[in-house]
Amino acid sequence: MSHESAMAIQAWALPVVKPLAELDDSELVSAAADGSRDAFDVLVERHRRTVYQVCYRFVNNHEDASDLAQDAFVRAWRGLKNFKGQSALATWLYRIAVNVCLNRLSAKAPAMETIDSTDHVPDLRIEGAQHAMIRQERAAAVRRAIASLPEKQRATLILRTYHDMSHQQIADVLGSSVGAVKANFFHALANLKKILGTEP
């Protein structure tokens, strides 16, 4: 047997196993749906920040946002077998996170932003302390204003502005029409303008 033939047989007999971190989302979803907890851990690691951010913008505080994000991932684990890959995994996760947030909001009034969550220390070497403080206060005011919007307006604004979802994708997530999404987006911006214009 030639060396090449031996190598070919060896390559056939020993399938190459890629490390989980090198697999793409669809491969990880498939492995996780077959019960691989390690594969799901990698998915959590990849998407935890964006899912957390969706939740944070809804509730405007770290504690609730981390609880909601955790709940979203638990639901994602339960529903992995139903994920057929029609949309990107991130979009599917956003949908779960938004539904978790909407369910929670309907049961509980949003909490105020905690002190530690605004405790983002600006780099004083680059920008003046006063300018950084004004920017930080403005950002906190905007987050508060967003968190006070009606649920559908809030969801639409968050998904469109921060997660770059199309109107159609948002309509799918919220179970509404593109027209309703555009109307909600318009009213969200109009309400924000009103709230921020009157806020000290």
């Binding site: 907890r37 799901f40 851990d41 959590v44 690691e45 935890r48 920040r49 957390y52 951010q53 944070y56 913008r57 770290h62 981390s66 994000a69 955790q70 709940d71 991932f73 638990v74 684990w77 339960r78 969550s117 605004t118 405790d119 983002h120 920017r135 403005r138 950002a139 906190a140 905007v142 987050r143 967003i146 604004l157 502005t161 921060y162 027209g179 555009k182 109307a183 987006f185 318009f186 009213h187 911006l189 109009a190 924000l192 303008k193 921020l196």
Partner: protein, 185 residues
């Protein structure tokens, strides 16, 4: 011409307004002011980032998700993992054999009742029905299946025959002969 609708304002904010409505926007101060206000607030919103949690938060979060999934009870509609046909089939076979034996094997009569009634006569009356039931229950199970199910150990059948009473051995012989006759014909 009418002012822009909410849909059209969103299209304008996103740079997708139809050309014919662009003409109105260019000539309408009211719509221009409204659009400028919406664009400004959208710009504000885009700059409002979410505060970054402590770097220690993320590993802690992943661990929390893992624990929550571990503690997540399976739905009530799901069967426990051990409830599979590979387990249930031998258990079913074993249950049928045990049930058959419980019905067929005559109970030891209490010592004081022996004098009152004749047990041999009563058993003799019941024996055909009992054996018929046992035959029906275990008729489709061969020794290998029962052995594979862990119900019967090698040599158990021979030992069981030795423990039968004279009447039971007689009945067994009759059944075996009848079975042989049926097999021949």
């Amino acid at each position: 011409m009418t002012h822009l609708s909410p849909d059209e304002f969103i299209d304008a904010v996103e740079g997708m307004l139809a050309p014919e409505r662009q003409a109105h926007l260019a000539s309408c101060d009211v719509c221009q002011r409204e659009l400028a206000g919406l664009s400004a607030v959208l710009s504000d919103a885009k700059q409002a980032s979410v505060p970054e949690p402590s770097p220690l938060f993320w590993p802690h979060f992943s661990a929390r998700v893992r624990t929550a999934i571990d503690q997540d009870a399976p739905d009530a509609g799901h069967w426990p993992s051990w409830m599979r046909w590979q387990v249930l089939a031998p258990l079913g076979v074993a249950a049928m054999i045990i049930l058959g034996l419980m019905i067929a094997v005559p109970k030891q009569a209490p010592v004081d009742s022996v004098a009152v009634q004749a047990p041999e006569a009563a058993e003799a009356l019941q024996a055909p029905e009992n054996w018929a039931m046992v035959t029906a229950l275990v008729g489709t199970i061969d020794l290998d299946t029962a052995s594979a199910a862990g119900v019967i150990e090698p040599g158990v059948a021979e030992q069981a025959v030795l423990h039968l009473t004279a009447e039971e051995q007689q009945e067994l012989t009759r059944l075996l002969k009848a079975e042989l006759q049926r097999a021949k014909s």
